[in-house]
Amino acid sequence: MEPYVPPSEPGRGRRAFSAVLPPTLAFAVLFGGWELFVRASDISHLVLPAPSAIGREIWDEPGYWWSHAMVTGSEALLGLLIALVVAIVLAILIAHSTVMDRALTPVVTMVQVTPVIALATPLVIWLGFGLAPKVVMAALITFVPLVVNAAMGLRSIDATTEEVLRSVAASPSEIFWKLRVPQALPYLFSALRVCVGLALIGALVAEWFGSTEGLGRVMTQARNSLAITKLWAAVAVLMAMGIVATTLVRLVERRVLRWHAPGRRP
């Protein structure tokens, strides 16, 4: 028996090139235009610093930025992981039992419509200036999309495929592991892609309301001393973190969901 060989992809190098070139050009135009505008006009650096000045701010003190970025990053990551575990457990309950669905879905909706940011102050009052309120905030902000998507994925199984499994008396747990879980993965990943950015925002906002370290702390200090370029530098570092995290999720997703038919991803 000949092993199946997937069709080779001609011109892979050229494809990668054409995938990288357009966004590079777009960014070059954006930042080049910004730089030129700041230099040509005599706009104050308090209003809008040049990209080169923001870059220098980070370049001059890489250790400083790295340590604060790690603080905010680990808060966000921890919050996201906690939200993921809780969301998966709740999604299984919601998808499996109508009673649980009726009981839990209103709670999820309540969290969804709560302006979570407004809870920052009570969280700091309850949990202090340390790690805890940031982690909780990151978890709260990412929890809803994760649970909603995971429950939708677990429920979205194909009725005919389920009947095929039932025709040999597969148990509910076999149907769960062989059908529901793989079916839910694409939904979970599409929520995760959105949630890595949200988790960073949650951790940052919690830091604004009381912290001793992290990029949020850097931002409030910079604001108080009118170090506007530093404020922008913090934004740039956060953006870079968001891009790296989203790309990592995408890479894992591509590995795990290689089987998925193109166009069937939610």
């Binding site: 028996m1 005919t160 025709s167 089987w259």
Partner: protein, 270 residues
């Protein structure tokens, strides 16, 4: 084509007074009303009838996926539910219903993996069960064992679904319009493949179709169902030689059967 060394034991199906209603009393639909039908061991029976006359419902009741309101169903000596637990059914649904994250070969072995305890009991010391490689060869999929379903054409996916049902070496094959979505040429190939599989396995087969030609070509008997409520309008025994000789579709006996079934269908629609 490789045939299994010896045959699995076929089992007959016995339906008596089966009725099924969906929904509440007034607005409900009487999907099936008083169906009585015997399918002999090793017989190939097709169910034909207009859309909504309860063909799928009847197949699901035989397979133990749905309980009838009244009447009894026996599969050999077992209830449909017990037969299902013993893995007596090879079920081919209308859509291929493959798991997209599994390769072709893993889809074919899927039903072996579930309900393992029963699977072991059905293990055969004589080695009658076809291996996955044999199944792929028989369905012409040898080169695609490691492909994923989305890389296959619709006809190939349907062949995987057929191989998956055959993998159980089940005494009963239940097929719900398995070729309806295929083009005429592929459908012709699939019909011959099914006849080969059925003849070599000796299984009892209940086959749902919309095509009168398909019904006559395949069956020992054609059961014509009438709608609202779903009931048996006519039973047409097909006395054409087996294996069907090439060009049988052009013979007058074939046309006579087609004509009689069409008449029964029209009569029931009135």
């Amino acid at each position: 084509m490789t045939a299994p060394a010896s045959l699995p034991v076929a089992e007959g199906i016995r339906l008596s007074g089966v009725s099924k209603r969906f929904g509440r009393h007034q607005q409900g639909i009487q999907a099936l009303s008083d169906i009585t039908l015997d399918v002999a061991e090793g017989e190939l029976v097709t169910l034909i009838g207009p859309s909504g006359c309860g063909k799928t419902t009847l197949l699901r009741i035989i397979g133990g996926l749905l309980d009838p309101d009244t009447g009894t169903v026996r599969v050999g000596t077992l209830s449909p539910d017990a037969a299902r637990r013993e893995k007596h059914f090879g079920f081919v649904p209308q859509a291929p219903a493959l798991l997209p994250w599994r390769t072709v070969i893993d889809n074919v072995t899927l039903l072996d993996e579930v309900n393992k305890r029963r699977g072991r009991r059905r293990a055969d010391p004589a080695g009658n069960r076809p291996t996955p490689a044999e199944l792929l060869e028989q369905t012409g999929l040898s080169e695609f064992g490691h492909a994923h379903p989305h890389e296959l054409s619709g006809g190939m996916q349907q062949r995987v679904a057929l191989a998956r049902a055959m993998a159980l070496c089940a005494p009963i094959l239940l097929m719900d319009e398995p070729f309806a979505a295929l083009d005429e040429i592929t459908r012709g190939e699939m019909r011959h493949l099914l006849l080969d599989v059925w003849a070599s396995s000796g299984a009892t087969c209940v086959f749902v179709t919309h095509s009168i030609d398909e019904a006559v070509l395949l069956s020992d008997r054609v059961v014509v169902l009438a709608p609202r409520p779903g009931r048996i309008a006519a039973v047409e025994p097909i006395d054409l030689p087996r294996p069907r000789p090439p060009g049988i579709e052009d013979q007058p006996e074939f046309h006579e059967h087609v004509r009689r079934i069409r008449q029964a269908l029209h009569g029931s629609a009135r």
